[in-house]
Symmetry: none
Subunit: 376 residues, 2 copies
DNA sequence: CTCGGCTCTGAATCGCTAC
DNA sequence: GGTAGCGATTCAGAGCCGA
């Protein structure tokens, strides 16, 4: 949807394309020509506010994000920083340009509110659901298994770029949703320094940027990343035939990114089309049967052969003959067996008939299947 | 984790429990006794940018010439509303109380920022991932397939309630994540009015509230919902043996909710009880193991992996490799770890087998239970 | 070669209680 | 109220090693 109007808005002064600029992103953005960029992808500091050390149950220490660039003395300081870089970014965008910002609950609400205050127009918030997040080691909170991205255009009137069909195709023919299941960046993709340690604490997976750039830019567009880090945005932009501008303050990150980019080759278009996303697996915990009201807490289940019974509890556990635990554990205990498939072992009664609870799981799975495959 | 301190904070003035109060939620909350509520679940108007009116305590109307200005003025009104109801809610919470707020990208960033500004402390943002969302018919954006909930305690110091084991149990033994897959409310659960139309535009599924209440309240807790609507919060609270207070301005919704609640029955107490954490079990000093002759002074203990050993002393301390102290201290010292659970770390030998000393603690605990139940 | 077991690690606002 | 000490707590995936 990029228009000729946007193209004319480009200043006569040449843009420093496909380079990494060294320095403070606000100053550098303010030095670049107004209205010259199609898309901004920004991964600003999250302002994590970590306190002491954290250890895993095996006593190993978690290598936390304690870098100086993530330290802000209070919300006011962080808010000013956010206000300034978002304003500089907005000035740089073409009238039909758009921005993506990624963050966690520590900062994303402040970023989102400021985006709205400045007149950006939010199209979607998008959830990156991590298939392999770090667990909560102390059992004090829910596993923090996602990050939030906000996708917004420069203004309400912007004719933003949205490649609906491309995303649908990436999603096996089904309309792309606002929650994306993508693994965290590790293995061979994760960049290491000379000592073999991770080169950057928060390197983003290329799969994430792939989806962002395929969905909301066109070949030849200019993509700017003001917090370039190790250059995932630049790498994916280069593969996909987009131009990038990176800004990064830390020399160590710039060096890693330069080296990375030098090895990247642009895909041919066929290769791009064949990349498929990883899909979520339909594991169904028994608790969902309770939450959805398919069985009520207090209801009784009966074993195969009707020799044992147990009562369902609100947390999805069973209690029967003084044994408490999962449907599998209680089944195994009552049978004196080392293991038991609770789904086929337990039955509930409806109109005098005994029905295996696995039927309920199948119903839930069917709903999930319909949802994942039905063309809208 | 609710403490007696919270219980004492309850005012002498009786709370209007298990009722729906009619009127403006801010006024009503301000009329209730301070520090009297364990949990608040709030589903405030998402509003914004939609033409329909929200509370507009009104500003003089400016001719909408400048979009940006107009937008700001709308946000300002919404922000004031948010500030006021969140402040009233915070006053009502016990020191260890907590709040859940649900919203979409239209309002959640403003709500989240204001929560932080007021001193609430965010534990998680939780994604309700809808398994059956409404598709985006025009193909101009991603399918908006989720809503965002924020879970926050009254302050950073709050000892908030988190039933880790119950949620883990609901998820079949795996730690609960911050993304919850739950279908939208439809079918038989969706309340209809006399004409057969949906009674409320945004009725939340009971499954969502089930998980919230099982995870972050205890039986007997007071749960307040300032935007009660058709009363999903009250319905699930009643089923789970929690007390509720509902506030709702619209008479039509109150009527539907009253009728709904009158049909709800509480689950039996045994079903409501959930798996308890080990922390809740009585503490057993290691010295008791010696006193009871389960281990003899001079006997040797062996570490996990058999790399270290230590000798038991008569006072219940260990000595190994010149280190003396508790089972925990010696374990930590020998491993060079910051801490160590001596109960699971140390093993004793019986008939050639290595047995963790935790077995002995479990025996003592079992005896204590018998003691407690026997008439004195 | 495969397979199984062991190790390592990832944007983390990650105690409680008794003295 | 401050502090010392007990003792609870993890999931997925990649890589490596030995059988």
């Amino acid at each position: 949807m990029t228009t000729t109007k946007d193209k004319r808005a480009v200043s006569a002064r040449p843009l420093p394309l496909n380079q990494i600029l060294a320095g403070d992103c606000i100053e550098i953005m303010n030095s670049l020509p107004e209205g010259s960029v199609d898309l901004i992808f920004a991964d600003p500091p999250y302002n994590l506010q970590l306190k002491g050390d954290l250890h895993r149950p095996d006593n190993s220490k978690v290598d936390a994000v304690d870098d100086h660039w993530d330290q802000f003395s209070n919300f006011a300081v962080y808010d000013k920083f956010t206000r300034d870089w978002l304003a500089a970014a907005r000035r740089l965008l073409k009238p039909n340009g758009a921005i993506w910002v990624i963050g966690s609950y520590h900062n994303i609400f402040r970023v989102g509110a400021e985006l709205q205050n400045q007149g950006y127009w939010i199209m979607n918030d998008v959830i990156w659901r991590k298939s392999n997040p770090m667990p909560n080691f102390r059992g004090k909170r829910l596993t923090n298994a996602h990050e939030t991205m906000i996708w917004a255009s420069k203004s309400e009137d912007s004719k933003y770029t949205f490649n609906y069909e491309a995303l649908k195709s990436l999603n096996e023919g089904v309309q792309m949703r606002s929650d994306w299941v993508i693994p965290i960046c590790n293995g061979g993709e994760r960049l290491k320094d000379a000592q073999g340690d991770k080169a950057h604490p928060t390197q983003k997976p290329e799969a994430l940027l792939h989806r962002v750039l395929v969905g909301t830019t066109n070949p030849g567009d200019v993509v700017l990343d003001p917090f370039f880090g190790t250059g995932t945005t630049g790498a994916v932009a280069k593969m996909l035939g987009r131009d990038f501008i990176g800004i990064e303050r830390e020399e160590a990150y710039r060096e890693v990114a330069e080296k990375r980019l030098s090895r990247i080759r642009k895909f041919d278009s066929e290769a791009i089309a064949t990349i498929k996303p990883k899909r979520a697996e339909p594991r169904v915990p028994f608790g969902q049967v309770i939450e959805r009201g398919m069985l009520r807490p207090g209801e009784e289940l009966y074993s195969i052969g009707n020799r044992h019974k147990a009562k369902v509890r609100a947390d999805g556990s069973l209690i029967g003959n003084d044994v408490k635990g999962s449907i599998h554990q209680v089944g195994a205990a009552l049978e004196g067996a080392p293991s038991c498939n609770g789904w086929t072992y337990w039955h509930y009664r409806r109109e005098g008939k005994m029905i295996p609870i696995d039927i309920l799981r199948q119903q839930i799975r069917a709903e999930m299947e319909v949802d994942e495959t039905r063309p809208h």
